[in-house]
Amino acid sequence: MAYNLKEIVATKPSRFTEGHRMCAGCGAPATARMILRALKEDDHAVIACATGCMEVSTFIYPYTAWTDSFIHTAFECAAATESGVEAAYKVLKRTGKLPQDEHTKFIAFGGDGGTYDIGLQSLSGAMERGHDMTYVCYDNGAYMNTGIQRSSATPRFADTTTSPVGKNSYGKLQPRKDLAKIMVAHHLPYVAQTIAVNNFKDLYEKSEKAIYTEGATFLNVLSPCPRGWGYPTDMLMQLNKLAIDTCYWPLYEVENGKYKITYKPAKKLPIEEFLKPQKRFKHMFNPGNEWMIKEFQDEVDARWQELLDLEEITNK
């Protein structure tokens, strides 16, 4: 059946409700809501969430925005926590302690802090063990919850509170880690990079595939942060579009090792289009700093080319 956003929204009630306290213009709530819409209506879900913006804004005692079961334990262990829930499900199902006709799916959410950095070990362990779960990283490119400190997902040159631009510094010195590829190296059945664009089609379809592929699956979702990136709140969807049209955030999926790029822009836009609206890159546009934009562009181009090559090689 062809993807139809109107129909999905009309027929599937939101499992992530209004009343949460995420910022206006944040990419994460729209992402979470859409991912949960990919669940079959009759399926129950247990959501695990790492400490971070999403957790502290959606489950402040005694209120919760989650209509499914939800567990938060700590910052670095959403994957391990969820792996325990999934293990319990397996045995309780096997021993007849849960109804045989009920199905539960397991989804863990973490920001880039809880996923790329402090939670990488827990994630790697859970993925390697092959628990039947989907881990979603909503990557906003810094530790936003604690006030915009750099992470290994922060792009080079970005101005953050622990990689500030100064007399002797041009922002973050290092390029960002490629987490999706690290997950591919775990030989998972399904890994994808996605974003909320074009009526959420890419996000929805990849979520559905990830959730309903047996085994450990991983989604990396770019999730802009108006406070950390410095853009007007109404620009969220536009930025998402620019991220993919500049190939800063390529959309692709890897099924059993085979790469498939799911969006190739007809006209690849220069990276300035993505950088310009964001205050964290403001200094890159000062006279004399043209080299920064060039190096940023070179890196984007190299990564895009690498992806094209991988698609070709793995589909031979």
Binding site: F70, A80, G84, A87, L92, S122, R129
Partner: protein, 393 residues
């Protein structure tokens, strides 16, 4: 008929876990508790248990997965020692605050650093205020028996707290002793099935667990935890009574060994109690009225009961197998002395930090403590209450 066996402490714990047949065991190897997940894995591999074994990549994940499994509605267990427990530390507090009756075997070992793999109690003492029930075991039999009683205590509706069963690394974990095992069907009946009231996998009643809990509520939630710990005292006694009916083996908050008519006594935990009993017997032959109070239930701390039990003594030595590095004394000493003071019992007391990093504790050393106590009784003087035992000169 109970089953006579010869088992190490680790084997005894593993067998208890097999008989309990938990839903999930998540564990990571660390000396000296490694054998427990090893033995248990073979039970899983041979289909003698229904358990899902999660071979996690760290102890932090072991406790995280155990929390997830227990919150999901399963009975979840783990085992660890020393630095493994240190790495779990963050999750230890979260487990108790989420009121999850997880049961853990803690095979006590010195916490780094420097690195040492042998027994002392610094690992357990590091989590003594984390909201876990803590049971200590003198020998293999007690480690086994405590495991069988653990779930009944932890899962009781008035308690709902995690529980750890401690035993001394190597000294009992790796020593083979005679043991009486309870038959599988009796254990099954005694432990019962786990029926949580609320759990994540209940589709009919989705639940959210682990909120951001701010100024308006956290205080009240902590008091609920504190009350649960108080409630645990009654439950521990009830379960011990049922256990005695089944096995004939009697357990309480602590064991009093020749304490009734004693004039001087030692307070200690775990395997050192065995050595102390031998010394007490020897001293008694010489007419010295020595006694022992062996603490089994360290959390909740039976302060009032201990104070009452020690009140008639002329001098008491508390032995701590961990130094608190606070310039005052060990943790057990502080708890016992505070129990005495609050309950208006005035008995001269001294503290000995001993056995650090697996330093052997001999009968001769224990005897020297009783000699010191006799001297305190005769002189009425305590020069320094914070002492060391077995320290090289």
């Amino acid at each position: 008929m109970s089953i006579r066996e010869r088992l190490s402490g680790n084997e005894a714990v593993a067998i208890a876990m097999k008989q309990i047949n938990p839903d999930v065991v998540a564990a990571f190897p660390i000396t000296p508790s490694t054998e427990i997940p090893q033995y248990f894995s073979t039970f899983v591999a041979n289909g003698t248990v229904d358990t899902e074994f999660v071979a996690v990549e760290s102890e932090h994940s072991a406790m995280s997965a155990t929390i997830g499994a227990e919150a999901a509605g399963g009975r979840a267990m783990t085992a660890t020692s020393a630095n493994g427990l240190s790495l779990m530390w963050e999750m230890i507090y979260i487990a108790s605050s989420l009121r999850l009756p997880i049961v853990m075997s803690l095979v006590n070992r010195a916490v780094s650093g420097p690195l040492n793999i042998h027994n002392d109690h610094s690992d357990a003492m590091g989590v003594r205020d984390s909201g876990w029930i803590m049971l200590f075991s003198e020998n293999n039999q007690e480690a086994y028996d405590n495991m069988l009683m653990a779930h009944r205590i932890a899962e009781h509706k008035d308690v709902l707290l995690p529980l750890m069963v401690c035993q001394d690394g190597f000294i009992t974990s790796h020593s083979i002793e005679n043991i009486e095992l309870v038959e599988d069907d009796k254990v099954k009946q005694f432990v019962g099935t786990y029926k949580p009231e609320h759990y994540l996998l209940n589709k009919q009643e989705p639940m959210a667990i682990g909120p951001l809990d701010l100024q308006a509520f956290l205080f009240e939630h902590k008091v609920q935890q504190a009350n649960a710990m108080k409630n645990a005292k009654k439950v521990i006694e009830e379960v011990a009574k049922d256990f005695e009916k089944m096995t004939g083996r009697k357990y309480s908050f602590f064991e009093e060994y020749k304490l009734d008519d004693a004039e001087i006594a030692i307070v200690c935990m775990n395997s050192t109690a065995g050595t102390t009993k031998a010394v007490v017997d020897k001293l008694r032959l010489n007419g010295i009225k020595a006694g022992l109070l062996k603490v089994r239930v360290f959390r909740p701390f039976p302060a009032e009961e201990i104070a009452k039990s020690l009140s008639h003594l002329k001098a008491v030595a508390v032995l701590d197998k961990s130094d608190s590095l606070n310039a005052v004394g060990g943790a057990l000493f502080e708890d016992v002395t505070s129990a005495m003071y609050v309950n208006n019992k005035n008995v001269p007391m001294v503290n000995y930090v001993y056995g650090i990093g697996g330093r052997d504790t001999t009968e001769k050393q224990i005897e020297s403590v009783y000699n010191d106590l006799s001297e305190i009784v005769s002189t009425g003087k305590i020069d320094n209450p914070y002492r060391y035992l077995g320290l090289r000169k």
